[in-house]
């Protein structure tokens, strides 16, 4: 059942995670149309619609932080406050000569970006709950400062909000101003969501070790997102101040933060449309039930609890009709090793060997590996076998930088690899898979594989935000390469499917495809055959051999002795953290101690 070559490069529209570009954009176009025509509904709804737009400007940025990167920032109202006061104070001229309101708004964006970075950066070092608490603390403090710094903020009395000049001063004029900004924010965040940055964010959220192994630098990425998110939040603050026409610290309660946060979770993580609908819903809902206004935050909190416990996927999951269609039950993974040269390019003869010299590592008093020598040659498959606990995975983790050896060295082509720097392994073209597949379950198989090619993109965050040509070129390149990688491992037909719907064996091949995106000089496979059927193991063996033939050095940690002896050029046997034997498969098979310790007589 060969796949015709023409089918390997389907147009992007057919294989994009969201199915079809047109049908994915349809809800947004509909909302755009409604938004433009909104003044026809009459004046009462003007303020509410404007407020929904203002909130969405903030939520769209926060969505990248919470929904995509998975950072629980609950105090984001602080940036709204900051933006509102910066715009109002500058426009009113309390400390400086009065700024024109548009410049004040731009200045607020800059201030917001800086503070977004300051509030966000602890996320790099702190665990989830710690980060949530620091954002909460920041929100408390900003309000207190606003209350106490009377000479600038007016204290409890407040300051008047900025008034934007014609044509944006009337009710509907201002509405169109906010609506335009909201539409731009939607467009920009949708661009990011569909870029390598958006995929990298979800990888950090759901599969951080896989993100590191793919060379994704968490600090740089999160810094960009926090800058953007802080800037749009502050702009929303400026608009909010103008809409309120007068602001006091009371206007910025934690309730607002809760509203923003819950809008995203109701909408669903990793979606743009969901949180957009969530924001509209939460803004409009109290208008339909006036007696409920006092209870609105209470109800939002109840809603949050229900969502978390009952449907963590949110609105986006409900709207995801495509992924409810059943998959074919009798599907098989048929790799196409013949595509490897096309995917990996010509073998790079210059690559030297990956060597371990007398590497030792102990945890407490337990020796995990004790003076291990190992050499992996380009173009060869090196098997690493041994009983459970003999140090195989530890060895792999030392090579890929998760553990630091206490003595000895790991060298690539003679140069020692930096200790710990996990994400730099990818730039050295060392790729790996994991014992339990690390996959972004809510992303499509194709998107998961594209994550592997993140470091090959050239466009900057800003270029992706604005969908400039280099961004579009990156995306087309990553898409085509990922399709080729999927076809190579035999999963092309599953490209648009949500990854968490796949079988275990398919996830293993998905991980290999993701690793191949790096065009690896060395590929480290951690028990790739575990949980595979006999047929699949045979095909895996052929694929691994072909990868080696294409010039890649493969380190294969495995328990399936048959597979090891079939495909390895060289085998190292570990026992009790030490090397028990090393040699060709034939030598190992007849090695008395190995047979006694591991293979069994």
């Amino acid at each position: 059942m060969d796949i015709p070559a023409a089918q390997l490069r389907p147009s992007r529209a057919q294989t994009l995670g969201s199915g079809n570009v047109v049908s994915a954009a349809l809800p947004f176009l509909l909302l755009l149309l409604i938004g433009v025509a909104f003044p026809l509904f009459g004046g009462y709804w003007g303020v509410i619609a404007t407020r929904a737009c203002v909130y969405w400007v903030l939520v769209s940025g926060l969505n990248l932080v919470v929904g995509f990167a998975g950072q629980i920032a609950i105090g984001w109202v602080a940036l709204l406050t900051l933006g509102a006061y910066t715009t109002s104070v500058l426009a009113a001229g309390n400390v400086t000569p009065p700024f024109p309101p548009y410049f004040a708004l731009a200045a607020a964006a800059v201030v917001g970006a800086i503070f977004g970075l300051i509030v966000g950066l602890p996320a790099l070092r702190l665990r989830t709950f710690y980060f949530a608490i620091t954002t909460l603390g920041f929100a408390t403090i900003v309000t207190q400062v606003a209350l106490a710094w009377q000479s600038v903020t007016g204290g409890g009395v407040g300051v008047p909000g900025p008034v934007f000049s014609e044509p944006f001063s009337s009710l509907w004029g201002f509405y169109y101003f906010c609506f335009g900004l909201a539409a731009i924010c939607t467009w920009m965040t949708a661009n990011i969501a569909a870029s390598r940055f958006g995929r990298a964010l979800t990888a950090i959220r759901d599969a951080e070790v896989a993100a590191e192994a793919s060379g994704i630098s968490k600090p740089a990425l999160l810094a960009s997102v926090f800058l953007f998110s802080g800037a749009v939040a502050a702009v929303a603050g400026g608009l909010f101040a103008s809409l309120q026409s007068y602001i006091t610290p009371d206007a910025f309660t934690l309730d607002l933060s809760v509203l923003f946060f819950i809008a995203i979770l109701i909408g669903g993580r990793g979606s743009i449309l969901g949180p957009l609908l969530g924001t509209i819903l939460l803004t409009v809902l109290p208008e339909f039930a006036a007696p409920l206004v006092a209870w609105s935050t209470f109800l939002y909190a109840v809603l949050l609890l229900v969502i978390v416990l009952a449907m963590p996927g949110g609105i986006a999951e409900i709207l995801d009709f495509k992924n409810r269609r059943p998959l074919a039950s009798n599907r098989a993974i048929i790799p196409r090793p013949d595509l490897l040269p096309q995917l990996l390019g010509a073998p790079n003869g210059a690559a030297g060997a990956l060597t371990l010299e007398q590497v030792a590592l102990s945890f407490g008093g337990v020796h995990a590996i004790d003076g291990l020598d190992l050499e992996i040659q380009p173009g060869q498959v090196h098997g690493l076998i041994g009983p459970n606990g003999s140090g195989k995975t530890t060895t792999l983790n030392v090579i890929s930088g998760y553990y630091a050896q206490q003595s000895g060295a790991v060298r690539l082509n003679g140069t020692a690899l930096p200790v710990f720097a996990r994400e730099r392994r990818a730039r050295m073209r060392i790729a790996r898979t994991f014992q339990t597949p690390r996959i972004v379950g809510s992303a499509s198989v194709l998107e998961n594989v594209m994550i592997g090619g993140t470091i090959d993109g050239e466009a900057t965050f800003v270029e992706s935000l604005l969908s400039l040509p280099r961004h579009r070129r990156d995306e087309a390149m990553l898409h085509d390469t990922a399709m080729l990688a999927l076809a190579t491992v035999g999963l092309a037909q599953l490209a648009p499917v949500r990854a968490d719907r796949l079988q275990h064996s398919e996830l293993r091949f998905t991980e290999i495809a993701r690793a191949l995106m790096l065009r690896p000089a060395f590929l480290l496979l951690d028990e790739p055959a575990a949980g595979l059927s006999a047929d699949e193991i045979t095909r895996l063996g052929a694929l691994v051999m072909a990868i080696a033939r294409a010039g890649t050095g493969v380190l294969l940690v495995e328990h399936h002795a048959d597979l090891i002896f079939d495909i390895c050029h060289h085998v190292t046997v570990l026992n009790l953290s030490k090397k028990l034997a090393a040699g060709t498969p034939a030598e190992i098979r007849s090695h008395r101690e190995v047979v006694n310790a591991y293979l069994g007589g």
């Binding site: 608490i133 400062v145 609890l305 416990l309």
Partner: protein, 285 residues
Amino acid sequence: MVQSIVLSGVAVGCIYALIGITYNVMFSASRVFSFTAGTLGMLGGVLGSLFIARMGMPVVVGFLLALAGGALLGVITEIVAVRPVLRSLDQHLYVLSTLALALIVQQFTAIEWGTESRPFPRLFNIGPGSFDQRFWLPMLACVVVIVGLELLYRHTLVGRAFLAIAEDTYAARALGLPERGLRMASYALAGVIGTLAGFAGGELLLAFFGNAPMLTFYGFVPVALGGMGNNRGAVVAGLLLGLFQQAANFLVGGIFASVAVFAVFIIVLLARPEGLAGAATQRRV
């Protein structure tokens, strides 16, 4: 002036330390931090004021009822917000579920009790001296809790079972310990400690719904700095926090005191994410 800084600093520090211990007791039982810790402190003040000042109950009855309310919220937290998400700890859903529950309680209080702070009754009919009850009550509560926990953990079977669960849940379960029952008991205990903190500090903090997020933040600082699950670290860090905050209050004024506390907290955490006393944990790959 030094005297009043030290007195109020230690008193407020004791409240923070107690909220920190509340976090720790819940964390030990379930490996989960709960946003309801500060809510419990807030409830201590509100329930005390409600039972004693508004409903005119005797102090002892009001005190016991307030603690019972805290225990009840503790158990509800365990059942509603913790147990359902324990299976997927790595998704951090507990942050959201406990936040939701904390907000529910806080908003309910805001609506039913009101959004302005109300006075907390004076518990003992003694005239105001320099060493007033509003200072020594939180200190007494803190000493009682520390000694009580020490006795519980070291000298009773239930206390040792708590420790076993905290040390290794799977091993404890394999030994036949009733893990779920012990976890609920821990949460009830945490509820009592949290409300005790708010009750004893009632005169300092007043009966105010907004104390919930404030205590959630300032009560977590001792946990983060003292090392999670480390009660002694929480007490030391709590007292330091209280003293630092009060000193800054007197010296540079309220807002800058909050900013200073926040800045110190962030800087220390960034320098030592595992806390001043804690040890780094290895991540599994």
